[in-house]
Symmetry: C2
Subunit: 521 residues, 2 copies
Amino acid sequence: MTMNGARSLLRTLVDHDVDVCFANPGTSEMHFVAALDDEPRMRAVLGLFEGVVTGAADGYARMTGRPAATLLHLGPGLGNGIANLHNARRAHVPMINIVGDHATYHQALDAPLQSDIETLAANVSGWVRRSGSTDALARDTADAVVAARTPPGEIATLILPADVSWGEGGQTVARQPFDRPLAPDLATIEAAAKILCSGEPSAILVGNDIMRDELSLALLDAVAASTGSKVLAEVFPTRIRRGAGIAAADRLAYLAEFAAMQLDGLRHLILLGAQSPVTFFAYPGKASDLVPDGCDVHVVTDVREDGPEAVEALADAVGVTVADARLAPSSRSDRPTGELTGAALAAAVSATLPEDAIVVDEAQTGGIWASPATAGCPPHDWLTLTGGSIGFGMPCATGAAVACPDRPVINLQADGSAMYTAQALWTQAREGLDVTTVIFANRSYAILNMELSRVGVESPGPIAKSMLDLTGPELDFVALARGMGVPAVRPEDADSFTAALERAAAEPGPHLIEAVIPSGF
Amino acid sequence: MTMNGARSLLRTLVDHDVDVCFANPGTSEMHFVAALDDEPRMRAVLGLFEGVVTGAADGYARMTGRPAATLLHLGPGLGNGIANLHNARRAHVPMINIVGDHATYHQALDAPLQSDIETLAANVSGWVRRSGSTDALARDTADAVVAARTPPGEIATLILPADVSWGEGGQTVARQPFDRPLAPDLATIEAAAKILCSGEPSAILVGNDIMRDELSLALLDAVAASTGSKVLAEVFPTRIRRGAGIAAADRLAYLAEFAAMQLDGLRHLILLGAQSPVTFFAYPGKASDLVPDGCDVHVVTDVREDGPEAVEALADAVGVTVADARLAPSSRSDRPTGELTGAALAAAVSATLPEDAIVVDEAQTGGIWASPATAGCPPHDWLTLTGGSIGFGMPCATGAAVACPDRPVINLQADGSAMYTAQALWTQAREGLDVTTVIFANRSYAILNMELSRVGVESPGPIAKSMLDLTGPELDFVALARGMGVPAVRPEDADSFTAALERAAAEPGPHLIEAVIPSGF
C-alpha cells in the first residue's frame, strides 16, 4: 500500500502510544488533517489558539505520563505555544510538537510566513529535528517519541515540511523501546540516610515523580518521623498526590520570607528529584539563594533517576516502612456562609471536592487558602504552574480532562491569568469535558501589587497602580464563558457559590463559576 | 539628581520621540511600572496578553512611522508576542521591545522563569541587546531607538535585567540622529524607465513607503498610463492609501491562480520596494515562483531606499507629472438590503465608510469583497496581514486608534482569527478607543476549507472537516465583547447591519458588530 508522509507519521505516532493530538492547523498542515480520517486511533482535539494546544498537551502528559502530539502552524504558531511549552519544559513532561513548515523548495523564497523555526523550537525543546524526506518521516517520528519519553520526559519538536507530509513513499517502522529512568546511586542514598539519622537538623526536598506516588510520600514521611527531619515539596510541583490517607509533603512557599522560615536552622538539605531552592524572582537587597548559611545541600537524585526507587532504598537504609508514616486525617471545611473571599472559596472547595478530583491551580494570590483547606479532602491530584508563565490553568485543565474522562477536573483560576488563554473554554465545550472553572475575580493583578512593594516600591503613583488594575472595564467571565459555549454563573455569596460548585459537579460537561472577591489578603 | 535605570530608560525613550508604551508587565518590570509616574510624557497602555501588546505597537507604527515601546515579561512574555512581532517584522515597522529579565546575578540560578531570551528575540528582531549596567542603560536605549528607526524600520529588542532597572546611577544621553532612507540609484531608475518606454509588456510591483504616499501612487499611475504598463501593489501591504481622488494600485491576489492572471504575458517586472512575487504557500504540482516564464525581474529599489524619491525620479525619466494620473472616481455602494453575506457587508462598509478612516483588514475569505467595494470611498488607509500570522487585526486596530485618536478605525475581522487576540477589546474599552470591529462570522476556518482542496485533498473525511468547523459550539462574539466591556450587537439583515455601522461611527468609543454570514464564496 502506498502511503503519504502524513499517514506514515500518524501511524507511527499511534503505534508508539501517542493517540491524542491537540491541534491548531493551517494550510501547511492540511495533509496531516486529511490523514486523520485514515487513522481513527488518533483523537484530534481542536484548539482556537496555540497556547491552548500546548498547555493541554502539558496537562494530558501530567496525568498520563505519556506524550500527546501538538499540531502547530509554522514559526508563529509555535511562537504562540511557547509560553505553555516553557511551563511544560519546567514540568519535565513528555510532548511531541509537530510544526508544519513550508515545502522544502519553498523555504528559500522568503514567503510571508517564512521564519526561523529551529531557534524557536530549541528554546523549549530537548530534541529538535527537521524531517528531510517522506521515506525518513516514520523513523524521525519514532525518534521524536523516544526522545520525548526519555526520563523524566522532554519536549521533542519535529518540523514537518509540507512536501514531506504530502509526498508518497511513507514507511512504517517497528515500535521502538523507550528508556527507563536511571537507577539511583545506592551509596549516595546510604550517605543521605546516615545524615538523616545523625540527629542534625535536616530536610528532604522532593520533586518530580516522587510527588505523585502515594507509596513514596508515605515512605518519606516514615523516614522523617523516624529521624526527626522533615519533608518538603518543591514550590510548584508538576503533580502532587494528596488528601486523606496520604502522607503530606509541605510545599515550599512561593514567598521567600516564608520559605526562609521553612528552611531556617537546617544543617542539611537532601534533594530527591528537586532543584536546590532559589527565590522565584530577585529582590533588591535580598538573597536569591534560599539555602541558609551553614546548610549543606546533598543531591541524591536528579529528575532523570527513578525517584520512587530511590525513596524505597532510603527507607530501607533508615529502616522504616509505610507503617511508620503519618497519613493525613480525613477532614473537610464546613460549608462557608456570608461574603465571598479567597478563604470562603477555599472552604467551599474543601467542603465539596469530589473523590479523585484533579485540581489545576492557577489561582495565584486569591487561591493561597485552597491548598491548606483541602489537605484532608478525599484523595486527589494537584497540578501547579511549574514554569511561572501565566495562562497555564485553563489549557492544562482541558488536557487533564481529555486524559482522564472519568475524573472531575477543578480549575482554580485567577482572573488576570485566565485572560491569556481563555479560548480553552471553547475546547472544553466542544469536547464536553468535565471541567469546573472557578474564577477568582479580584479584578487586579493582585500578585503584582504585592510584588511592587516587595521589590522596594513603597508608594506607587496612580499610573503604576492603574497598570495593575483590571476594573476599567470589569471583565465579565460569565459573558466570556457563554460566548464560548460554557454555562456560567456568578454567585453573590458563599452559600450560593458552594451550591454552584455542587451543581457543576453533578452535571456533565464544563462549567464556569465567577467569584468576585476582594483583592489582597 | 540621582535616577534609577528605569527612569533613565523612560526619559531616554521619550527624548527620542518614543512616548507610547504598550505593556503587559510582571514582577521583573515593576520598577519600570513605578517609574511611569515620574515620566508623564510616556503614555502606558495596558494589554491583557502580549500578542495584543506587540500587535498594537505594530498598528501604532504603521500609522505614525514612529516606534512605540512594548513592555514584556521575560522569555514567555516575549514568546506570547512573537506572532504579531512576526507580522511587524514583515511590515518593516519600527518597534522597541523592552523585555524584563531576572536580575543579572539571579540568572545562573535557573529559577522557574529562566529561559534563553536572546534566541527568541533574535527570531523577530533586527537588533538585540542585553543591557549590562544601569549607567549604560540610557545609551543602550538610545541605540535601540536608532536601530528601530533604521529605514524602513526594524524591531529592536532591549533585554532589561531587573537590577539594571532598579539600580541607581541612571544617565541621560543627548538625542541621537536617525538614519534617513538610502538614496535610490538614478542609473537603475533610468534603465527601468527605458524598459517601461520600450512598449514591451511591463508591470511595476510596489511596496513599502510608496503605498502610503498619494503623490507616489499618482506618479506611478501616470507612468503606467503613459507607457502602457500597469502598477501592482504587493499582496499584503503595511498600509495603503486609497479612495476617491487617489490613484489606485491593484493588489496582487492572494490566490496564485488569480495572481498568475495578473502577471500573465509580462516581459518585465519592475520592483519598487517590493519582493519578487511568490505564492503564500507551496501547493503540490504548482510553481511557487509567480514570475512568468520569459519575464525579467528588475530590482529598482528595496525597502531601505527612499521609495517616493525613486518614484519621482522614475516619473521624471518617463516625462510624466501627476496631471497624467487617473485618479479613482468617487463612488459608494448602495445600501445593501436582504441577507447578510460577505458581499452585503462590503456594500454596507462602502456605503458608510467615514472620511479618513483607518481600515484594519483581517477578514480573510469573508472579506474579499470589501477592498474592491471601497475603492471609491472617501480617502482612507488600509492595513493588512503582512506576515500571515493570524490574530493581527484587533491588536493592530487598537494601536492604530492610539496613534490616531481623531480618526475612526474599522476592523474587518474574521471570526477564527479574532479568537487569537480578542483580549484587545478590553484595551479598546479601557482607553475609549474609536474602533468598530466587524466580525465576519462564517463559523469556520473557511480559508482552510479552500486550502484543503488547493493542496490536493479532494474529498476530505468527516474528521478533517470537523477540524475546520467552528460551530460546535458557536462562538458568540456579542457575549465575548460585552465580557470585555465593549458594546456589541448582532444584526440579522443587511439593513440593520448598515444601521449598526452608522451608530457605531456616531458614538465615541469601541463597538463590535457580529455579522453571521455563510461560509465559502
